[in-house]
């Protein structure tokens, strides 16, 4: 009788763990499927050359459509994704910025599909000496 009860419990345990394992494996497959997500990303102008300043405006935010495994997309809204534009070596005058994939600090598995706007023109001018 005792062995029968234990056998019954064993079977229940096997069933529960089999379902759990199957669900976990299934989730790991499902969450690897590619998905897309729209993000609003702030633009940061880094390494502005000394003596230069931004004249006029530059887009403060970009709308970016990214694609990648769904498991990586889940956390993206909670991660401070930024578009970093490196201005090192920039010269005074007009400068055309093209927001390419390399500008975004994203996981290598996440690809940038569209950026709106995808380009912007900024004007750099020399700071006035007092």
């Amino acid at each position: 009788m005792m062995a029968h009860v234990r056998g019954h419990e064993w079977l229940k345990g096997v069933k529960f763990l089999s379902v759990l394992l199957a669900v976990l494996i299934w989730l790991s497959v499902i969450l690897e499927r590619p998905g897309e997500m729209l993000l609003t990303v702030p633009v940061g102008l880094d390494r502005m050359p000394r003596g230069l300043q931004l004249e006029g405006g530059a887009p403060a935010e970009l709308e970016v459509v990214v694609s990648g495994p769904q498991i990586l997309l889940f956390l993206l809204p909670f991660h401070q994704t930024r578009c970093r534009v490196d201005l090192a070596g920039a010269q005074p005058g007009q400068m055309q910025l093209s927001f390419r994939e390399g500008y975004f600090d994203l996981d290598p598995e996440i690809k940038v599909l569209h950026v709106v706007p995808d380009t912007a023109t900024i004007v750099l001018a020399r700071k006035e000496q007092n």
Partner: protein, 252 residues
């Protein structure tokens, strides 16, 4: 049309999940004992760990877990080689062959068991099926004789020098007698069972053999397969049970 396609996608996912549950539970049931539960729990923890490592982009942890998961296939095959072998042997059994007329071996066996049980003489008879029992036998005397009820009865008579061990039937012949079998290590086996039953359970946990045990205390016979003991109510039911379990091809 779009919603129909979406529904198809959901149904496909559900079918995928249901089949995964079915496959894993069927595979898990082939494995016996507490170890199967532990293995399932460890695999679940590893897959959950993989998911979390992927979710939080923990590359090193993910690498370690993925390596463990990949090598677990080989590890499981080594740990459960006996169970896997037994499972394949069971799968390989053809149902149509069961209808074939049984040989005299079973009749002789049943006749011998009936006589031994009536006289309360203990007996241990191993019938080999697909998996060889040779590597699990200790000592024993080679006989290689036709299976007859007289021979079996005389081997187990108390004054016989080989009455203590097991008789082995391989390919329809009585090949060995006085063999010692490995005792079961299963703690769940009732303490009231004697050495004969423990030996029978121990051997059938390792191979797919059918073992018939006659208890000298109670004079009852039981059939043990896959570590499970079934009491025999009467001799016709023993014959029926043996005909169901032992296919003619294993007696050739």
């Amino acid at each position: 049309m779009n919603s129909f396609l979406q529904n198809i996608g959901v149904l496909r996912d559900l079918l995928d999940l249901a089949l995964a549950v079915l496959i894993i539970s069927r595979l898990a049931r082939l494995l016996k004992g507490v170890l199967a539960l532990r293995i399932l729990a460890i695999l679940s923890a590893l897959v959950a760990g993989h998911l979390l490592a992927r979710f939080f982009s923990l590359q090193t942890v993910r690498l370690i877990i993925d390596l463990l998961l990949a090598s677990s296939v080989v590890g499981l095959a080594v740990i459960f080689q006996t169970d896997i072998r037994r499972a394949f042997a069971t799968l390989a059994r053809s149902r149509t062959e069961k209808d074939v007329e049984m040989s005299d071996v079973i009749d002789e066996l049943v006749f011998a068991v009936a006589g031994l049980a009536q006289k309360k003489i203990g007996a241990l008879i191993v019938i080999e099926r697909a998996i060889s029992v040779d590597s699990y036998l200790a000592v024993g005397t080679d006989i290689d004789a036709k299976v007859t009820s007289e021979l079996i009865s005389s081997i187990f008579l108390p004054y016989s020098p080989i009455h203590d061990g097991a008789v082995i039937i391989q390919h329809g012949k009585l090949t060995k007698a006085g063999c010692f079998l490995p005792l079961t290590q299963n703690l769940e086996v009732s303490k009231s069972l004697g050495t004969r039953h423990r030996a029978a359970i121990g051997l059938t946990e390792l191979v797919d053999a059918v073992v018939v045990v006659v208890s000298e205390e109670s004079g009852t016979a039981s059939v043990i397969v896959g570590g499970k003991k079934t009491e025999v109510i009467d001799m016709p039911s023993l014959g029926k049970s043996l005909r169901r379990l032992v296919e003619p091809r294993w007696l050739k």
